[in-house]
Symmetry: D2
């Protein structure tokens, strides 16, 4: 690793790619040396005028040879089913890869095929990929060549559920994840459903009990629990640009007190730089985590202690995508974990 | 009853009072003869310029004698704990009362005292009040002198849960109501929490497992179930003006198919003018019910049939307040139920 | 004309077409007998679930023969350059036409060609078309077979400027129209620029001094002034669904007092049902005209009386499109002018 | 000046104070040593949970002695008429002051009294204060002890107008500033007008031709022009949190081409780190400057060259307040001007 890390971004024209660029341009240890996209060309500050005066980078058509030549690490902010066509080649050439798509998250390619509608094209690297949730898998990330950056909803859900699922596995009757996301989570595509006139002053559930992030949550929670877990997951579309808030209902056989629950969470995340357990009675708000890499967590318990309500909030583009990707990069490269993220 | 009903509104300066006025001004069988408020005086079109050219009404300090003199029916859009000080006097004078506050909703004045922080001042009329949810209590509303107009969250929750709770009482393990409301539900009061800068681009849960609408939902569901029901209710604040969407998770002992669930709901609401069971796969959206008296309901079931997810959407100011109040008035006065509401 | 007017809508899948349908479904003198679109088929309540339970209409591919067969009047809510291909045929068959596109607004087909990029295909009917701004051209509308419904910005601009331009023609040095519109004004098309993530929390000017509504404003003002008028028009995109507010700066050679200005406007619009001159010091707000056919006007004057600032607000989909179209229909058919619009 | 600058903030509970804190916490040359407010006490992360894990600072009641003891520089983010009661004492004790209120902006205390309704309490320091717009007054700021940080609207207006007013003074017939601001510009106060339900989906002009920022703009433009200038200024309230966009209409006696206008602006701001003249045809958007210290400027000219339309956009809390204040601090302290601001 040279002194300054050379980073590339494939898919810079999308919202997560743009966010990655925005973060990396301020990172003291990184130089962005290569940006590419599938259908967009030209100066980045022409595509996104917010970069005027901040960078002279020119967006190329993505090309493996060039990426390898210019980069130590490449962030793949490509649509699902596209990353798996290029990650392997980058890895083979010795380039580290942080994939922000879903392509390397699910360990079962059968499950992948069912939810993403395409047979997996790089089965070999699925096995090698490390799931990039630092709070749970930091040690493995340190030595990973390929990190599967978690989905936005799963990041908020897993961080919110991990301590309780780990500690009270056998007591859990059911888990409901009622998830709400700002509209940037849907990406930057010209779709009638995402028009301002349709989203603004509106609210709705979508993909009810059928969202592709469900198996990702189940996979990680099952690993933590040491047995098969299956959450009931419903996504909703918020009329805001950024932010996810998940409200999670864990029905328990044996009651727990709020004090016990809080102690569990405080201990679990004791040394984490980006997880904040709110003071007693506090509830996370999307605005408090917007444009940050924090995950805020609030806790409540029913009178009989058998229904725990955990709320977690993140910025879907930062901790839910590009920020967490940079956090993973920091870990992979031996940088301070929060560098460029505060 | 004369040919044209003379209606008064106490609390016209608040959002529900304003909405009631807006609806009643277009009602073919009604003349609004009296509008009042506690702290606001003067022409209504001075308070709310949207009424310019639509009415010459002048807002008075609320006065029982004047209200009785001018009105056949009075809508009380007053803050909680104020309605109970005037409703009795209006009733005694033969004026019908539709109370949009919470004062007459809970049959147990002990429970009322616990949630609303004040001893009830009109215990006698609590017993006589009819809970004004026409879909469940239409017959009683017809002859009621005092209607307790349901809360906004309870309207959406109860309409969404009633068919399933009624049909599958003994199978229910738990009920979660994850409720989201636009900000007009909080009323028109100068509070830092309700500032545009705090609400806009934000989202949060509030009064988690501690919202005063919980006992109202429990009371009605318990009545339907014939046994004590207790939902887990969490409210959230949406950055929109109008609308509620409740996502409700009913955990069942025995599985149910989506077809069975749909059949249950279609039958239950077969003749209802304001409840729309969406086509299979359809999900309610706040924009589709905004400014209407409709309640839209969507249905989904987990693969094993043991988790039913019911979503219901209303306009909190219309079906959740003033529109339902006018619906109740129509029923009480023998008018066509949807008059002035389409 | 039969007792109940049979109305058709071409382009019901767009926002103005939908709005026209919504208004006409409540109109006591109208039955909507035919709805059509270019690329959308099927039940209207499938396209727009807000119509569930309100209509059984089925959207057809637009067909002249069917339109003629089913309708007394047809509202053309088609894209510009499409209306001119069908209006003539409807007129020939004796069907009245209210065109909500720009095709028949400009009397000079040369100017039309320059701004709309297409040669006009129905020059003959351009001459016959009446510009449907009732406040200025009511008499002609009464007997018109073809009404060119005004643009949204021009409606707000012309209503705001007409009294002053008429009375002080020779004193005017310059006119600036700083116009702001909600996003529904851009129509319902899948465009990156109109995505919620791009519009929300954003604001920008567009088509600066180059908006196609400019010649429409100039044409009408020039007619009123009896000499060539040319405004400086800049459009802006507001992050709201509905509403236009125009702030207009009229620089005068001779000063005018606020009292004189107000007197001018009060007199000019004395009997108008849909124009509201706000009380002294009052300023129009978009929310006060949203979902109504009103145009609210505010007036201010600089200390030296030489800069008059007129603000006007409308709902771009109602007074700026479908509501005004229905107002025109009422006039053409001898109905009360505000029927179905209050 | 020690190696690390000790900075204090009075009025940290307001939006500009909070923004100043947020920026200064990331500034490599600064330590925030003191935060205070008038009516708020306690940990900053209790007042604003977004600061959890970012600072342990505790908000005090403002006290001059403590401020002097702890700070090299104090940012006064107090309401107008309060800063002038404390700035003098800080200055006397050798503390540098950057005042974000209006108290030291207007050189004429008579004009100040007329617009702010209070006699000025510190006339002596008004004369010494430097108007903190670095692009125009950088040299004076370098040695200033007291900087009057410009108002948000004036920053956008003056930066947009300065090159043209300077170069074409004698040609100017009139200047219109049509200004639009997000709601955080109104500060954090519990007012009905600022409620989400009133602001959201709404838009209006306010203080038409009567906004207190008018004399501030006039003062600076007059200085640039070398003669009395008076703009016509109208403010509008945007339903967004952050951002100002001013559309400015300069009516000229002699025509100018777009090329000439662009050349003028490019040259004027050639070396400025925070002013971006957009490429030809480009228009500033609020989202491109949100959360940055940039001012983006767009240019257009009418066909006859006599109406120049200049659009400028800033973040009202950053370049319009706290960011510019930090820029001034950097200049006053000999730091790199953009440190902590990129």
């Amino acid at each position: 690793m040279k002194n300054i890390l050379k980073a590339g971004i494939a898919g810079v024209s999308g919202y997560t790619g743009k966010e990655a660029l925005s973060i990396l341009l301020k990172h003291p240890r990184v130089r962005v040396t290569y940006v590419a996209a599938n259908n967009t060309r030209g100066r980045v500050d022409g595509i996104y005028p917010e970069f005027l005066g901040r960078t002279d980078l020119v967006c190329q058509k993505f090309n493996i040879v060039q990426a390898v030549q210019h980069c130590d690490v490449v962030f793949l902010a490509l649509p699902h089913t596209e990353s798996m066509r290029v990650a392997g080649k980058l890895l083979k050439a010795g380039v580290k890869v942080i994939d922000l798509s879903a392509d390397y998250r699910l360990k079962s390619t059968r499950v992948y095929g069912r939810w993403y509608g395409r047979q997996h094209a790089d089965v070999q690297n699925v096995a090698k990929a490390v799931y990039g949730l630092p709070e749970l898998f930091r040690q493995k990330i340190k030595t990973a060549a390929l990190v599967a950056n978690p989905g936005c909803y799963p990041t908020a859900a897993i961080l919110g559920l991990a301590p309780l699922v780990t500690a009270k596995t056998s007591s859990i009757i059911s888990v409901v994840v009622d998830a709400k996301s700002g509209v940037s989570g849907a990406g930057r595509k010209a779709s009638l459903d995402l028009l301002s006139s349709e989203v603004n002053e509106n609210f709705k559930a979508y993909k009810v009990l059928a969202h592709q992030h469900t198996p990702e949550i189940d996979q990680v929670l099952s690993k933590l629990a040491g047995k098969k877990m299956a959450v009931h997951f419903v996504a909703h579309l918020l009329p805001i640009n950024r932010g996810i808030l998940n409200t999670m209902y864990v029905h328990l056989k044996e009651g727990i007190t709020l004090g016990q629950l809080r102690a569990l969470y405080k201990k679990f995340y004791k040394t984490e730089p980006f997880v904040r357990i709110l003071p007693s009675g506090g509830q996370p708000e999307v605005k408090n985590v917007a444009n940050t890499n924090f995950c805020d967590i609030g806790l409540a318990v029913s009178a009989d202690g058998k229904m725990a309500v955990i709320t977690s909030a993140i910025d879907n583009l930062v901790k839910g995508a590009a920020g967490q990707a940079v956090q993973n990069m920091n870990i992979m490269c031996g940088f301070t974990e929060n560098q460029g993220l505060l």
